[in-house]
Structure formats: structure tokens, C-alpha cells
């Protein structure tokens, strides 16, 4: 039923995109599509008893965690679609966006949203794998709509690294499939069944398949050493696409890792899995923050910051601190969207992302500049912004298990924060000698930034009871305590 | 005892008589593929007869090595013949047939050939010797692994016992993987394309020919004959390992005759396919050779692994 509704919406939207001639209509239906997804799934969350089975054999099933991720995706897609209205218009106006690519862009955008919804509602892990692969392809298509050679190179890198790594996770799936047979004699990949029998599966096989699954989905979310695709593809893509890639598509990897980790955590190999996640998490934070030091390209810096945050989430998962990891996912998506949207406006103004070419933006584009400053302050985990709480609590629980590691991570976080602040101060205070014309920014590009700033301020000081309950329910379901 | 003497006489005679035949057969096949008429099938015999009638000439710089090497070569080859049964297996084999000894006898012959190449002091001879030695040192591990696999599978390092086992039962499926490395070894040891070109006297491509460039008359005939013998022996190993039909029939005149005919048919087919292989591939550069050897190495090691596992 739900599946039928969202398929019908998708079909209607893509038909309109295919046959309409004005870009404006395409953009409006895209906004409506995202809005309808948000409405449908919030309605499901509020009115129905979870989990809901969507497809026969429980191949697709919605539980609180899936709906939470879908809602985050919906919000970011909605804001990015609103932003795209003005952004794509100005790109076309400047002849930087090939007109023949408009339909492709909006089609991939809507299909990406649809496949994101399917990824998060897959109960069968093999289906999750397939939909994750499809999101890779669609994101690559979105990256290449800009049609520059750098974009093709970045997209190819993205597709090759992630799909190669994803093949390894398919091996993990095969092993999991074989291992599940030993329990009731029936092989299955349905997560809910696996979750109920995970303690009876041979822990060694489970661990083996966990490692392989981890390789693939770590590449999907840009964990070191598979992070090399992330900075080029996120920085070369159009800014609204970058926001999607960073805020939503990266979550797929973390989502799948959480699902897998929950399976292995109660068994005797649980600590070993935690150690692996911890090692890769710390490695990622270290490598990402050290590479942030030398960046002068704003979008690349933001992309590396995504890598760093993904690593931090891994640390949180390894500590079993699901509640705050889940909150972190939401906060990170919002802040990243804000940063990329502001960076997009700055890029429109100065035509470059490099420090030294960006001049006078504080005077010319005050909103984008404030967005950038607020976003940077938020992403480094300053109090009064939402990322502060999860960072604080995860670091506290890390300190409880090992003070030394906590200090190490803290050091790298300082490095990351320092490089962020350094670049932002450089960018915002650089003044050109000659007078620069103000670039006209459409209202639709400003609205999402304002909305995001407001949301961030509210979430920074007030933790809504509804959200708190939702996260508690999810945590209870995942960890059982 | 008697069966071993019979075996020794039959084996040596058959190999020595057949050896020149395959040389000209392969030449004929290649010529046909190139659209030429090619030499007569028995041309190699005429060549050898002619060479035997001529006297040997030695360079003034050469030492006794040059004079001894051809005889050592032919003696080694004749001893090696006793190690590889062609038609039947005698009841008792008095310690002959040891694979490792067989390999070292061939290596001894090759060593003296290389020394003779150096001995005359000509630049070509030295070049040929150094090339031949480097190639044979690369092919050595492959040969060892191939025979180690055989030894592992048949629990023996003796040709007589291994062939006794293959002639009774079916060959293991995974052993078929060894066929490719064995053919590569055959091509290498008999100095054929793509490793070496036996037909030219071009300094860029010569390996084996360069070594025996200084030999003449009887000595050259002995050298040619011994390389012919080596070729027949290696072909016989492949044939008796993989296609043992008609091999080792009950010991009687008819049995030996049938085995001989079967061997002739199989070996002619093998020689023709070698000719075809040679016609289809080009001689590769000396520095491209390692890839061929690497493939042979990989395949033989995988066979060993498969045999250990299954």
C-alpha cells in the first residue's frame, strides 16, 4: 500500500518532469515530491504501530529507525530542492549548466529520493545492498550533470571505489545467508529474523561477514582508507547535490553498519567488532583532520569534515552509544546542508572556492557568510549548537573506557576545528582592492539557509520531547536496554 | 632382468630413430602454414648423415671442452632415454626413472653445451650461453613444481611408477591444469617459438643456435641428435601422463608393436599441434618471456594446491 503510493507519486513526478518544458514546473514537483515523502512518513510514524511490513516476506519493512532516517533524508531533499530552484536557474543563466541536462538532473534527483526511501525501508539486507548500489549510480549521475571533465573523473572514482567495496559486502551477505541456515534450517537475510536469532549463529561466521559488510558500507560513507572518492566528488558536484551527498547518502553506510553491529554486539565476537570500528573511526578522524589542515578550497574542507564526522560516528557506534549517534546523524545532516548551501552562494558570487579568490563576501553576501560562520561553529561542536551534545556525550563515554584515546580524538578534533576557523576567518575577512559587483541571489536560495539557521538555533538549546522519545524507542529496539 | 634389457634396447632404438623425424615434421607443418612446400619428411636424417660424413673443425682458441662436449651431450641423452619409458614398463628398473636424476642429467648436458658455446671464444657463443642459462634458471622452479605435483599425486618420484599409475586409471581432473605448464616447458627446453626461434641465425633472436654455432661436422650432428632426443623424451612424458591409451600393453611382440603404433600416432599429433602453436604465435622478446613463465608457475602451483586440498 505505502509502496504503491510512493511509486505512484514517483511515476507522476517523473512523467511531469519528462513532459514539462519549463524548469520551474520540474522544480515545483520535485519540492512537492520531497514534501509528500515527509508527510507520508511522519503520518506513518505518528499514527501506526511500528514495525509495518511494506512488501511480502517482510522484504521491506518500516521500523522507527528507518522512518527516522527517511525523515532526515526528506528534510534535506526538501531544502535542497527549494535551493535548487534559484541555484540551477543561476547556473543556467551563467551557461555553466548544460540545458540538455536539466531533465536528467531532476529525474535523477527524484529517483535518488525514491531509492533512499527504499534503502532505509529494506528489511532484507540484500535488497538494502542493491538499493545502496542504485543510490551510488544515481548520485554519480547527479555529479556528472555539470558535464565538466573533473566531474566525470570524480564520478568515476566514486562509482569504482564504492561499487568495488560493495562487492566485498555482498560476500559478507553470502556468508550471513549461509550462516543463518544453521539455526532453523532456512536461509534468510531478513534483518528482523537475523536480529532475533543472532545469538545462535556461529559468532566466527558472523564476525567474518561483519568485516566484509563493513568494508563495503565503510566505503559508502567515506571511512579511511576508502575515503579518497569523497572530497573530489563532494567538492565538484553542484552545491545542492553536495548537500544531499554529504547529509543523506553518506548516512546509508552508517545506517547499514549500525544494523550489522547490532547483530554482532550481543555475541561473543561483539568486543572484537567494537575494536575494529574504533580503530577505523579514530584512523578516519585522524586522517581527515590532518588533511583539513592544508585545505584552501572551501568545499573540499567541508567534504573532509564529512569524512571526519563519519569517523566520529563510528567511534560512537563502537562505544554502543546509539542514542547520541542517532542524534548526531540528524545534526550533521542539517549542519552540512547549511554549509554547502552557503558555499554555493559564495561560489556564485566569486566564481571560485579557493581562499584568495573569494573577496569581500561579508559585505556582498552577508546571509551566506553568516550561514557559513554559523555552520562552521556548529560543525566543530560548539555549545549552544546541536552537534555539541552528541560530541560531548560520546567523548565522555570514550573517556570512561580509555582516557588516552579520548585525548587523542580530542586533539584531532581541535586540529579540525582550527583548520575550519582559520579558513573561515581568511575567507570572510579577505578584501579585494577593486570594487566587485554584487551577484544577485534568488530568494529561493536564501530561504533554506534561513530555515536551517533557525532550526539549528532551536535544536541547540531545546531538545524536543517527541524527538527524544523517538530516539529512545529506536535505541531500545536496537540495543535492548 | 631380461625385460629390462629388452626395454633398454627398444627404448633407445625407438628414440634415436624417431628423434630426427619430429624435427622435420614440425618444420613441414610450419612451412605448410606459411604456404611453402617445406622440406621432405626425412630431411633431418639426410642432414645428419651428411654431417656425420664431414670432419669437425676446431677453433685455435678452443680447449678440450669443445671436443668433449658433444660426446657428453649424446651420452647424457642416451642415459636419459633409459629414464622415460616410451612403450612399456619393465618388471624391474634397477633405480632408473628417478625424476630428479633425470632432470640433472639433462642439466649436465645443457651445462656442457653452454660451456662449449663459451669455449670457442666467439661473441655469439657467449651470448647464446648466457641467454640459455638465464632462461633455464627461470624455467627451473616451474619444472620442479610440476614434478613435485606429480610426485605428490602419485606418491612417487619415479617415471616408471608414475606412468604405471596413469596407464591404469583416469588422470585427475586438476592435473589437466599441468598440461599448459608442461607444454611451456617443452617449448622452452626444445628452443621453440615463442621462447626461441630455431630457424634463424639472427643475432637478436638466437639462443640455442648461437650456442652451437661453432660446432661442425660430426660434433654438430651429435648436438642436433641429442636435442632431438630431448624433444622426444619431453613429448613422451606429456603423452604418457595425459594420453596413456595403448601404453604398457602386456609384454609380447604384438603388444610392443601396438604400443609403438599408438605412440607414433599420438606423438605425430602432438608434434603437429606444436607446429600449429608455433605458426600462430610470434616470437616474444627476451624481456617478455617472464610473463609466459609466470603463467606456467601460477598454474603449476595452483595444481599443487588443488591436489593437496581435494
Amino acid at each position: 500500500m505505502i509502496l504503491a503510493i510512493i511509486i505512484i507519486i514517483l511515476l507522476a513526478v517523473s512523467l511531469i518532469v519528462l513532459f514539462s518544458r519549463s524548469r520551474k514546473t520540474m522544480n515545483y514537483v520535485t519540492v512537492l515530491h520531497s514534501l509528500s515523502i515527509i508527510l507520508i512518513y511522519s503520518y506513518l510514524l505518528l499514527r501506526f504501530n511500528l514495525p509495518i511490513s511494506v512488501l511480502k516476506n517482510n522484504y521491506l519493512m518500516l521500523d522507527a529507525f528507518s522512518i527516522y532516517e527517511i525523515l532526515i533524508a526528506g528534510i534535506i531533499f526538501l531544502l535542497a530542492a527549494i535551493y535548487a530552484e534559484g541555484y540551477i536557474k543561476s547556473l543556467i543563466h551563467e551557461k555553466e549548466f548544460n540545458k540538455t541536462n536539466i531533465k536528467l538532473f531532476y529525474l535523477s534527483y527524484n529517483f535518488l529520493l525514491f531509492s533512499m526511501v527504499l534503502v532505509f525501508s529494506s528489511n532484507n539486507l540484500a535488497l538494502l545492498w542493491i538499493f545502496a548500489e542504485i543510490t551510488t549510480i544515481l548520485s554519480a549521475t547527479l555529479i556528472v550533470t555539470l558535464n565538466a571533465k573533473e566531474n566525470i573523473v570524480a564520478a568515476m572514482k566514486y562509482v569504482f571505489i564504492t561499487s568495488t567495496a560493495m562487492l566485498f559486502s555482498f560476500i559478507g551477505l553470502i556468508f550471513l545467508f549461509a550462516a543463518s541456515k544453521s539455526v532453523n534450517g532456512v536461509s534468510t537475510l531478513n534483518w528482523d529474523v537475523l536480529f532475533s536469532i543472532s545469538q545462535q549463529i556461529s559468532p566466527q561466521l558472523l564476525f567474518f561477514s561483519f568485516i566484509f559488510m563493513f568494508i563495503g558500507f565503510a566505503a559508502k560513507s567515506g571511512i579511511v582508507p576508502f575515503h579518497t572518492w569523497l572530497p573530489p566528488s563532494h567538492s565538484k558536484a553542484a552545491s545542492d547535490v553536495s548537500a544531499l551527498l554529504s547529509g543523506v547518502v553518506l548516512n546509508i553506510g552508517i545506517y547499514a553498519i549500525i544494523r550489522m553491529y547490532v547483530l554482532i554486539a550481543p555475541t561473543s565476537m561483539g568486543p572484537a567488532a567494537s575494536i575494529i570500528l574504533m580503530i577505523f573511526g579514530i584512523l578516519t578522524v585522524a586522517v581527515a583532520s590532518l588533511s583539513m589542515l592544508v585545505r584552501t578550497n572551501l568545499k573540499k574542507l567541508i567534504a573532509y569534515s564529512s569524512v571526519e564526522n563519519m569517523g566520529f560516528m563510528l567511534i560512537g557506534i563502537a562505544l554502543g552509544n546509539m542514542f547520541w549517534v542517532l542524534y548526531y546523524i540528524l545534526a550533521h545532516a542539517l549542519v552540512k546542508a547549511l554549509l554547502f548551501f552557503s558555499a554555493g552562494i559564495i561560489h556564485r558570487q566569486s566564481g571560485s572556492m579557493k581562499a584568495g579568490n573569494i573577496k569581500d563576501i561579508l559585505k556582498l553576501q552577508p546571509l551566506a557568510c553568516f550561514g557559513l560562520i554559523i555552520g562552521s561553529i556548529a560543525i566543530i561542536g560548539t555549545p549552544l549548537f546541536p552537534i555539541f551534545f552528541p560530541k560531548f556525550y560520546i567523548l565522555t563515554s570514550l573517556a570512561q573506557s580509555s582516557l588516552l584515546l579520548c585525548l587523542l580524538v580530542l586533539f584531532f578534533l581541535f586540529v579540525a576545528a582550527g583548520s575550519f576557523i582559520w579558513l573561515i576567518i581568511n575567507l570572510t575577512t579577505f578584501q579585494g582592492k577593486e570594487k566587485i559587483e554584487k551577484y544577485r541571489i534568488y530568494l529561493s536560495m536564501k530561504i533554506p539557509i534561513i530555515i536551517l539557521i533557525v532550526i539549528l538555533f532551536i535544536l541547540g538549546v531545546y531538545f524536543p520531547q517527541g524527538l527524544q522519545n523517538l530516539l529512545k524507542i529506536i535505541t531500545l529496539k536496537l540495543t535492548g536496554n | 632382468m631380461i625385460s629390462f634389457f629388452l626395454f633398454a634396447i627398444v627404448n633407445i632404438l625407438v628414440v634415436l630413430i624417431l628423434a630426427p623425424f619430429y624435427i622435420s615434421l614440425i618444420k613441414k607443418v610450419k612451412a605448410l602454414f606459411q604456404g611453402r612446400k617445406g622440406p621432405k619428411l626425412f630431411q633431418a636424417y639426410y642432414n645428419l648423415l651428411k654431417l656425420f660424413k664431414k670432419e669437425s673443425i676446431y677453433s685455435t682458441n678452443s680447449s678440450f671442452i669443445m671436443r668433449v662436449a658433444p660426446y657428453i651431450n649424446i651420452i647424457c641423452s642416451i642415459v636419459a632415454i633409459l629414464f622415460v619409458p616410451l612403450l612399456f614398463i619393465p618388471d624391474n628398473y634397477f633405480g632408473f626413472g628417478n625424476i630428479i636424476l633425470f632432470l640433472y642429467i639433462l642439466a649436465l648436458a645443457k651445462f656442457f653445451m653452454a660451456l662449449a658455446g663459451l669455449d670457442a671464444g666467439s661473441t655469439f657463443g657467449g651470448m647464446g650461453s648466457s641467454r640459455e642459462m638465464s632462461i633455464s634458471s627461470i624455467i627451473e622452479p616451474i619444472v620442479i613444481i610440476i614434478f613435485a605435483t606429480l610426485a605428490f599425486v602419485y606418491n612417487s618420484v619415479n617415471f616408471f611408477e608414475i606412468f604405471g599409475a596413469t596407464s591404469v586409471g583416469l588422470v585427475h581432473a586438476s592435473l589437466w591444469l599441468l598440461l599448459i605448464p608442461l607444454i611451456i616447458v617443452l617449448l622452452t627446453e626444445t628452443a621453440r617459438i615463442p621462447i626461441d626461434n630455431p630457424e634463424t641465425h639472427l643475432e637478436l633472436t638466437m639462443v640455442h643456435e648461437a650456442m652451437i654455432l661453432e660446432q661442425s661436422g660430426k660434433n654438430l650432428a651429435l648436438m642436433e641428435l641429442s636435442s632431438g632426443v630431448k624433444q622426444v623424451l619431453l613429448m613422451a612424458i606429456i603423452i604418457n601422463l595425459f594420453f596413456p591409451i595403448g601404453f604398457n600393453l602386456p609384454l609380447s611382440l604384438i603388444g610392443i608393436g601396438t604400443s609403438l603404433i599408438a605412440f607414433l600416432i599420438k606423438s605425430i599429433i602432438l608434434a603437429i599441434s606444436i607446429g600449429i602453436i608455433e605458426s600462430f604465435i610470434a616470437k616474444s622478446r627476451l624481456f617478455r618471456l617472464p610473463i609466459i613463465f609466470a603463467i606456467a608457475f601460477l598454474l603449476s602451483l595452483i595444481t599443487l594446491m588443488m591436489e593437496m586440498l581435494l
Binding site: I130, E133, I137, A140, A148, N151, T164 | H172, L299, L309
Partner: protein, 228 residues
């Protein structure tokens, strides 16, 4: 059918797969690479048919048919089409490994996968032939991985990816067959992926001047206005 015969045939097909893989590693000619790949997939589907004969499960037969159609017909056609339009014939660019060293690396890979799987051999409960199939499958995956990382031409990288995929299919045949629905979707996904990468790779591999010209207006997307 006689189980002994099926076992022997399985062994022979595994041997063939190994031989074809070494050919893929060592060849530089693109035409023969593509042909060998389609043969590779054919052998794979033959293995699936053998599984059908021994277990009588129609999923295997269907999977074999799908494999033949998609991997030994459609994808090679696609690759040939791309290659024909790109006008390149040989691949002589390598990142790190020349063919000789890559053959030795693949040898190490096979030993390595043997080592890995010996750790979980007891938990899997497979017969030694199946176990060997699993090892070969995993080694194919790693060898494909090596091809992707050592070659520079996109079209050869795609072939490396496809070899990896074949390895995964081999693994799944020997460990436990996936449901048909998933099998089909994986193949669909593979087709789309290959199509997309072929189209994209076109712009990078191509030696044609016109294509570079076509990309040129958007070439310096990032610094164009700054330069002005």
C-alpha cells in the same frame, strides 16, 4: 547424473576459470580481453548448470540462463561498442603492476585467500571441492580488485570489476544460492552500472579530439570566472 562425473566436471570448470583469469591478467589486447571475459562468464554459467544437475533446483538453471544472456552476450556487446567508438585497441598503461608481477601477486592472493578461509573452514561445513570453489571465488574477487587498481584504462577497470562480480557469483554458488529475485536485481544493477561507467568512461579513455573539445566549454568550471 553421476555425482562423480559432476564433481570431475566441476573441477575442470574451476581449472578453466583459473586459466581464463590468468589470460585476463596477462593480455593487453582489448578485443581478446572482452572475448575472454565472455568465455569466463560462460564457464560460470556452466558451473551453475552443473549445480542444477546435481541438486535439481531450478533457480540454478534460471541463474545460468540470466548469466549467459547478460554477461556473455549483452555486456560484451556493450564493451565492444564502447571500445569501437573510443578507437583504442591495447592497454599498455599500468599504475603499479606489470603483468608479470601481477601474476605473482595473484598467486599470493590465492595463497592468502586459502589462509583466510582455513580459519572458518570448520564453521562453513563444506566438502573439500566446494571449499576449493569458495577459495577460487574469493581469489577471483581479489584478482579483479587488483586489476582495477593496477590498470589505468576505464574499460579494463570495468573488466576487472566484472571479474570481481563473477567471483562473487561463484562464491554464492558454492556457499548457498541467493533467492531468484535478488539474483535478478543484482544482474540488473550490474548492467546499469556497466552501461553508466561505459558512457562516462568514454570521455576519459577516448583518444578522440572532438570529445575533448565537446567537454572543453565546461572544462574549468571552477576557476573560469575567477580568471576573467
Amino acid at each position: 547424473m553421476n555425482p562423480v562425473l559432476i564433481d570431475e566436471l566441476l573441477k575442470i570448470s574451476l581449472v578453466l576459470l583459473v586459466i581464463l583469469t590468468t589470460i585476463i591478467i596477462s593480455r593487453r589486447n582489448l578485443v581478446s580481453l572482452i572475448n575472454v571475459y565472455s568465455l569466463h562468464s560462460l564457464v560460470l554459467s556452466f558451473i551453475a548448470i552443473l549445480f542444477f544437475l546435481s541438486e535439481g533446483n531450478y533457480t540454478f538453471l534460471f541463474a545460468a540462463a540470466l548469466t549467459i544472456i547478460s554477461k556473455s552476450v549483452l555486456i560484451p556487446i556493450l564493451l565492444r561498442w564502447t571500445k569501437w567508438h573510443m578507437k583504442i585497441f591495447t592497454d599498455i598503461e599500468y599504475h603499479y603492476l606489470k603483468p608479470v608481477s601481477s601474476i605473482f601477486v595473484s598467486l599470493l592472493i590465492i595463497i592468502f585467500s586459502f589462509f583466510i578461509f582455513s580459519k572458518i573452514k570448520d564453521y562453513l561445513g563444506l566438502s573439500s571441492l566446494y571449499y576449493f570453489g569458495v577459495i577460487i571465488g574469493f581469489s577471483l574477487v581479489m584478482i579483479g580488485f587488483m586489476i582495477i587498481f593496477s590498470r589505468r584504462k576505464i574499460i579494463v577497470k570495468i573488466i576487472g570489476y566484472l571479474v570481481m562480480e563473477n567471483g562473487v557469483v561463484l562464491l554464492s554458488l558454492f556457499i548457498g544460492e541467493m533467492p531468484l529475485l535478488i539474483e535478478m536485481m543484482v544482474l540488473m544493477d550490474l548492467l546499469v552500472l556497466v552501461a553508466i561507467t561505459c558512457i562516462l568512461g568514454f570521455g576519459m579513455d577516448s583518444s578522440m579530439e572532438e570529445f575533448h573539445k565537446k567537454l572543453n566549454p565546461f572544462h574549468n568550471w571552477f576557476n573560469r570566472r575567477a580568471k576573467k
